[in-house]
Amino acid sequence: MRNKEKLVEILLTLIGLSSVTVLGLIILFIFKEGLPAFAQVGLWQFVTGTRWSPGKNLLGILPMIAGSFVVTAGALVVGLPLGLGCAIYLSEFATAKTAAILKPTIELLAGIPSVVFGFIGLTLMVPFIRNFFGGPGFSVLASALVLGIMILPTMVSVSYDALRAVPPVYREGMLALGSTDWQAVKMVVLPAARPGILAAAILAMGRAIGETMAVIMVAGNSTIIPTSFLDPVRTLTSNIALEMGYATGLHRQALFATGVVLFVIISILNLTARVVVRGKTR
């Protein structure tokens, strides 16, 4: 009996250690491969350089950093309000029957592979944007739209759970004063669910930053700093995916260095988000 306990304990320790270690090894690997690029190109030069042309040994990733930021921000602008609105509707206003149909449908969206989204974006959104707004169609706008829809399931599911976790008595306190459902939601439920909703937004943001396949298909992948929504753009992840197949030597190290920059950016964003969430729950 005692031995069985010990065995389970050992097993769990192994499992716990392995997941942490795998992550640690990946991080170590990326840094090991990428740091020489920083040394050779110069950290400042690398991060602020505006020309990316490995064939001519020009290695500046500022356009891609800008690209990642703009595309992610656009995706959040599209996906956050839509997702939150949907979650509020499902949680507070939909009848049980409606919710029973809608919620699984939205969760189904999460199972669609990103390449399918990219394909739909390519065949539907890109031409639409080109015809209606001008420009090549491959653009920040196309990426933001596609990504915004891709992060919907995450945003809806997690926000919905946060809203459902608010005890009914919060709503009832308001209703008993004669307020309407929406007033109750706005004044009590949303503030109470705020930490959970912020967590949903952070998760959605993480998904948007990391998405590669769909973005490559609709963003245009130009190495310019985007100045308009209709400009084509390249993100950090797309950069790695596009050129990884043939990169050698310094170029390959530069791609790993891009991975390092990505890792740092995501860490900073997550930390900031955590601090903000903690501040708001006090």
């Binding site: 005890p167 009832e172 306190g173 008993a176 004669g178 004044m187 009590v188």
Partner: protein
């Protein structure tokens, strides 16, 4: 059952053969309830869990509407009119029949704004009017003295007992006729509990108050009319002194002597 039974036109609240069920009829919460409450009285409803006391309360302001699958037969009258009538405006009903819950949930606003919320909703915009209403409500709820210097600080910083009195003030601010309280002191310390009970006693002549409690001793302390609910039925009703010294029903006697609870 010995009921202080005024006739129809005198009652503020009257239940006539009122039955209520959940889950599309599967769970019957109230069986053919017949009960009359006079205006300007304080009725304490006591009984063990599952006796239907909270169901009755929430039927009065139709909060039970929010649960799918609820149904009722019979009538539940407020001033002679069925609260489940077709033309009843539920929001208006809930203003006339205010409710204080076991868990006070102040809005994430200042104390002033919490109390002013209801009146604002009714359309009162004038600052002077709101000031008057807020002050009166806070005084009636016996909390004004404690908070008058920090009306604009956050309501969520108040203690449990204070928040509960604030909840009462919030209800009072919209000028209700009936005040329902669902186990309002269950989460409070004894001192706050006594203060609330004291406040209710003072209020009773101006409103019709129905208080649900899990604690028979509280019913005894408040010295109002007491109704004993058990398994969805009204078993006995009468003044506190009668119920606690000469209960007529065996079940009432067992409950107040602590044989079950």
């Amino acid at each position: 059952m010995s009921a202080t039974a005024p006739t129809g036109s005198e009652c503020k609240v009257q239940a006539i053969n009122f039955s209520f069920s959940y889950a599309y009829g599967e769970t019957k919460a109230l069986h053919s309830l017949n009960l009359a409450i006079r205006p300007g009285s304080l009725l304490t409803i006591m009984g063990p869990t599952g006796s239907g006391k909270t169901t009755f309360l929430r039927a009065l302001n139709r909060l039970n509407d929010r649960v799918a699958g609820t149904g009722h037969t019979g009538q539940l009258l407020l001033d002679g009119k069925d609260v489940y009538g077709q033309e009843v405006d539920v929001a208006e009903l809930r203003r006339r029949v205010g409710m204080v819950f076991a868990l006070p949930t102040p809005l994430p606003l200042s104390i002033y704004e919490n109390v002013a919320y209801g009146p604002r909703k009714k359309g009162i915009r004038s600052r002077a009017k709101l000031d008057t209403i807020v002050e009166k409500a806070l005084k009636t709820a016996v909390i004004f003295e404690e908070v008058k210097d920090r009306l604009h600080s956050s309501a969520q910083r108040l203690s449990g007992g204070q928040q509960q009195r604030l909840a009462l003030a919030r209800v009072l601010a919209v000028d209700p006729e009936v005040i329902l309280l669902d186990e309002p002191t269950s989460g409070l310390d004894p001192l706050s509990t006594l203060r609330i009970e004291e406040t209710l006693r003072q209020l009773r002549s101006d409103f019709t108050i129905v208080l649900v409690t899990h604690d028979p001793l509280q019913a005894a302390r408040i010295k109002s009319d007491v109704a004993f609910f058990y398994l969805g039925e009204l078993v006995e009703i009468g003044p506190a002194t009668e119920i606690f010294t000469r209960p007529q029903d065996r079940r009432t006697e067992d409950y107040i002597t602590g044989k079950f609870g």
